[in-house]
Structures are given as C-alpha cells and as structure tokens.
C-alpha cells in the first residue's frame, strides 16, 4: 500500500546540509503493524511526515495505493490526509478552545458533513473511546491520557487506512502509555495499518515489524 522508492529529504540550515532521509526505500502492506525506532535525529519524524503527506521529499517516489502522491496538487494531498491518513502526535495537538467533542468533530467539518450526521458520529466516537462524560471539557481540563484518547478519536473518526503515531506515549507515564498503545492496536486489529514511532523498547516490541533508523537510513527491518 505504501511504497517509498529512494526517498530523500534534505534540510538546509545556513550552509549546513542535513540529510534527514537518505534514499529510503520501503514497502508497507495494508494492515501491517510497524514500529520505527532509532536515536533522536535519525529521521523518524521526517519519514512519518513524508508518509503522511505533511512533508514533500526532495527526491524519490512515493506511491500510496498505487498513486504517485508526490505529484498530487495541494488540495488533493489535503484530501488524502483527511480521508486516508490519521496522525497522532506526542503533544496531542488539540485545539485548546474547542471541547473534546469539538476537536473530534473537526475532520467531519473539513469533510463537509451535515451537522446532524456529525453529531451522531461524534457521539458514537466519544462512546467508543470512553469519553462521553468528557465531551464538553476543554483540553486543559483533561488528563494526558484523556487528551491522547481525544486525539486518537479525532485521527480515526473518518476511518483512515493508515494511522501514523509519532511517539504517542512520549508525554504519558508508562501505564497510561500502555493503554494508549492498546487503543491503537485495537484499531489495527480492525484492519487499519499502524505505524508507530517510539523510544520505548517494550512498546516497540509489540509491533509485528520493527524498523530501525540511523542518520536518515534504515538500518534494520525485522519481522
């Protein structure tokens, strides 16, 4: 489903060049559960951003579901992000002035769904993520675990084919982190492709496939 072919991403800082991704080639099939590990600065986030169409590579080809997505226009890429990809971040990235329900509703709004249908979907999703009694709380009134649950609910409400989680447990204690990963694995069990970047060996080990990165290159790929 995901096919990276010699993907390169170079950042220029003054006259210094950083090859965040150096000719990366990678195939990920639909329904896989992949963990990406590696030292800080090895290019894990950049790889996730390229896969999620948040970042454009400087070289190479990326085909998603057989389509060369690097050639898509900006609105087309946005639509792929909206409908095919769910992002989960370390720092949750909830909109602070919207309630839990409001945050979860955002992708439906962007999709242009009617208000009545949105309300139904949000209600069902809140229930599925055990957030019903937190529906009208703002992020500041939620615990870290609850915030990440809201973020995951928001990322998955349009049933994306791929979930990209960049250190989703980085800001959570071990126990809560375990719960969040269990939640993601639950979604994977229902067929969603799951790619998790993590520092936590124990959590990383739960994936079916383990990718190791260093200096912008893949140094290990084990199943």
């Amino acid at each position: 489903m995901i096919r990276l072919d010699a993907i390169t991403r170079v950042f220029r800082m003054g006259d210094q060049e950083v090859r965040a991704l150096d000719r990366i080639s990678l195939d990920i099939a639909a329904g896989e559960y992949v963990s990406i590990m590696g030292p800080s600065g090895s290019g894990k986030s950049t790889l996730l951003n390229v896969i999620g169409l948040l970042d454009r590579p400087d070289g190479g080809h990326y085909t998603l579901d057989g389509i060369d997505v690097t050639t898509l226009s900006e609105p087309e890429q946005a639509q792929v992000r909206r409908t095919r990809i769910g992002f989960v971040f370390q720092s949750f990235h909830l909109v602070p002035r919207l309630t839990a329900a409001g945050n979860i509703e955002l992708p439906l709004m962007l999709e242009g769904m009617a208000a009545a249908e949105r309300r139904e979907r949000v209600e069902a999703t809140l229930k599925a993520f055990d957030l019903t009694d937190r529906a009208h709380h703002r992020p500041a009134e939620l615990s870290g675990g609850q915030r990440q649950r809201v973020a995951i609910a928001r990322a998955t409400i349009l049933h994306p084919a791929v979930i990209l989680a960049d250190e989703p447990t980085g800001n959570l204690d071990h126990r809560i982190g375990g719960e969040v990963v269990a939640l993601l694995e639950n979604l994977h069990q229902r067929g969603t492709t799951l790619i998790v970047v993590t520092h936590d060996r124990e959590l990383g080990a739960r994936a079916r496939r383990h990718i190791g990165m260093r200096d912008g290159a893949i140094v290990a790929d084990e199943t």
Binding site: E74, Q79, V95, L110, R154
Partner: protein
C-alpha cells in the same frame, strides 16, 4: 468545509479572544459611526440652508432697481443719468410675460400701528394677494384679496393687539390711515433674518400712499417651473430695458443660483468630512491586519494541526478571512447604530438642524468597513494558508 461551518468556527475563535475582538470591533465602529455622524451633520447643514431658501419661495425671480453688479453703481451715472425706479406699471407688465405664474410688487417701510390704546412700530409690506403664495406664507384666519384698506397681521402682532384671538374685522390705524383686519398670518418664525410674525401686509396702493412714494422696492416673480427661470429672467431684463428707454438699470436675481452654490459647497463639505472619517477606517484596517497577524502567529500550531488532519490551504485562508469578515460586520453594524444614535442626539440637541444621515453615507461607511477588514486580512490569511505544516506543528 461548508460555509456555515467556516463562519461558525471562525466566530468561535473570535469569541475566545474576546478583548482583542471587541477592540477591533470598536475601532471599526468608531470609524463607521464617524462617517455616518459627520455626513449627517453636513447633510443637516445643507438641508437647513436649502430649507431656509425654499421658505422664501420656489422658482423665485426678484427684480430690484439699479445695477448691483458694477461696483461704481449705475453705469449711466457718469453721464448724468439716474437709474429709473421700478413702478407698479413695470410690475404689471412683468406679470404679463409668458412663463410667469404670479408676481407681487413689494414696498417695505415702518409705521406705527395702533388700536384700542395700544401702539407699536411695525414693519409694513405693501403688496398684492399673490405675495402670500409666492413667499409661502399662509393665513391662519381670514382672507386677503388686496382690496383697499385691508390689512394682514403677523401672528405675534395679532396676539399683542387682540389677545382674545378675535382680530378679523377689527379696525386698526397704521400711520395716519385706517385699516380693517382681513387676516392673520400663521406663525412661521424667523427665516433668513426676517420674522414674518412681526410684520403687517397692506395693499401696495395703500403702502405707496402711506409712504408717499411712486416706486417699488422689489418685484417678486414666481416662474412657472424651474426650467423657465432663466428665460423668464432674460425676458424681464429685456422688457424692463424697453420700458426704461433702452437702459439696463435693474438687477434681476434668482435665488436658484445662490442656492445651487450653497448646495454645491455643502455637498463638497459633506463629502470631505466623510472622506476624513473614512481615513479612520483605514487606520482600523491596519489594526485588523496587525491583530490578524498576531493571531496567525499565536495559532501556528493549530494551523499545522488543521493541515495535518486534512484542511487544504484554501480552507485555512477562508477561516481567517471569515474572522475578519465577522469583525468588520460587527464593527460596521455597531458603527451604523452608533452613527444613527449620534445623529438622533444631534437632532434632539439642535432641532432646527435636520441631521439625517444620507443613505449613501451609511452604505459607504458599512461597505468601506467590510472592504477594509477583508483587504487587511488578505495578507495574514495568505500567510496562514502558506504555513509549512511540519514547522507549524513544531511551533516554529
């Protein structure tokens, strides 16, 4: 994203930055309000002046003896000639001209009015019955046909001499002559420095006898329509030139010329103050731009998040434009209300000034506010739409 959702989401963003939003709305409102109030003032002044002129009569042509426009007075004076006076005969001949609806000869003087032991010096107008319609005066009581020894009293004089209100038919003395009260004028108050409540009107023959003169002070002429004022003016000049042995020794003035000048000046003045007020709107626009730029900077992470969950650049731009639209809509609406309330207070404080804001000013004020708000937010909105999501999410 649906338009309604864009509007409600942007409204929500504004509501959470309440103080900032209110300040912008206020700045916009003051600008719009200033446009409305200042044009109301200008329009009021213009209407006041036009109204004052209109109360003197419409389509009015005034004939006065002598050449007024040459500083040296009557040009024939150097040749030992004296300007010819206007006579009743002149007035009657003018009245026969085509294009003239009615005419009134006019003599003015002062005399002592007495009745029942009361005595008072009054301004006397000698004329015919047409004076009333020409000068837009009306009788509260009685009838004036201009037959001999009839007198019409101004409202204040009638009340002074006949406090019981029964003036009609009473005998009065004016100078050494006797008159019978034929009518009482409705109260009009002062117009163009002339208080019609303090005058009396008598037939022109009686006035000429009273003041012992053969000449007229003025001939007032009402043209049939606005469009024939100029031909009537030319015809009067030509007629009187013939009657005065080929000498152009009268001055014919139309108040339209004066009125038009005032009208033009006051319109220009109104436009000018409206323009100055509109500049304050431009300042409000700069404020909007500044605040929107701050908002974009503060909400960088949020913009990145919206992009990550699939908002295209166009949606981001629309969200910020919608915020500006709300701000300027609220500012324009509040300014409209402020402006109309302000105009209303001016009208309360100065009832003679018809300070009604013209519709074009309200429309222009509101439209300028909307336009300013939108234009000022184009740059911030474009900046937000262009943000690189990865950097935006990392808060850089």
């Amino acid at each position: 994203m649906k338009l309604a959702d864009t509007l409600s989401l942007s409204l929500h963003s504004l509501a959470s930055a309440r103080t900032r939003s209110l300040l912008i709305v206020l700045a916009m409102a003051l600008g719009v309000g200033a446009v409305v109030v200042l044009t109301a003032l200008g329009e009021g002044a213009r209407r006041y002046v036009v109204g004052q002129f209109a109360s003197l009569g419409t389509n009015l042509v005034i004939v006065l003896p002598g050449r007024a426009e040459t500083a040296g007075g009557f040009p024939g004076a150097a040749l030992g000639q004296t300007p010819r006076d206007l006579t009743l005969g002149d007035a009657q001949a003018v009245g026969q001209l085509p294009g003239v609806r009615r005419y009134a000869p006019l003599n003015v003087g002062t005399a002592e009015l007495s009745s029942g032991g009361r005595l008072r010096e009054v301004t006397v107008l000698g004329s015919n019955a047409e004076l009333l319609p020409i000068r837009h005066m009306a009788l509260a009581q009685g009838r004036f046909v201009g037959s001999a020894a009839q007198i019409v009293l101004g409202d204040a004089i009638a009340q002074d001499f006949f406090p019981d209100g029964r003036a009609i038919g009473q005998r009065v003395r004016l100078g050494d002559r006797r008159f019978r009260v034929a009518g009482v004028l409705t109260t009009q108050g002062e117009s163009m420095g002339f208080n019609t409540d303090e005058i009396v009107i008598i037939p022109v023959d009686d006035a000429q006898a009273l003041f012992n003169t053969e000449t007229l002070f003025r001939i007032l002429v009402e043209a049939r329509s606005r469009s024939v004022i100029e031909p009537v003016k030319a015809a009067i000049t030509e007629l009187l030139k013939q009657r005065h042995d080929g000498e152009e020794d009268v001055t014919v003035i139309t108040q339209d010329a004066v009125l038009e000048t005032f009208d033009r000046i006051l319109r220009a003045l109104t436009l000018g103050v409206a323009g100055i007020a509109a500049i304050s709107l431009a300042v409000a626009g700069i404020l909007v731009m500044n605040v929107m730029l701050v908002a974009v900077a503060q909400r960088t992470a949020e913009i990145g998040l919206l992009k990550a969950i699939g908002a295209p650049a166009a949606t981001i731009r629309q969200l910020f434009l919608a915020e500006a639209l709300w701000l300027s809509l609220a500012g324009a609406a509040l300014g409209f209300l402020l402006g109309h309330a302000g105009s209303w207070m001016i009208r309360l404080a100065y009832p003679v000034l018809p300070a009604w804001p013209p519709a074009w000013a309200s429309v222009a004020g509101v439209a300028t506010a909307l336009l300013t708000g939108i234009v000022a937010s184009l740059l911030p909105a474009a900046r937000a739409a262009r943000l690189d999501p990865v950097r935006a999410l990392s808060g850089k």
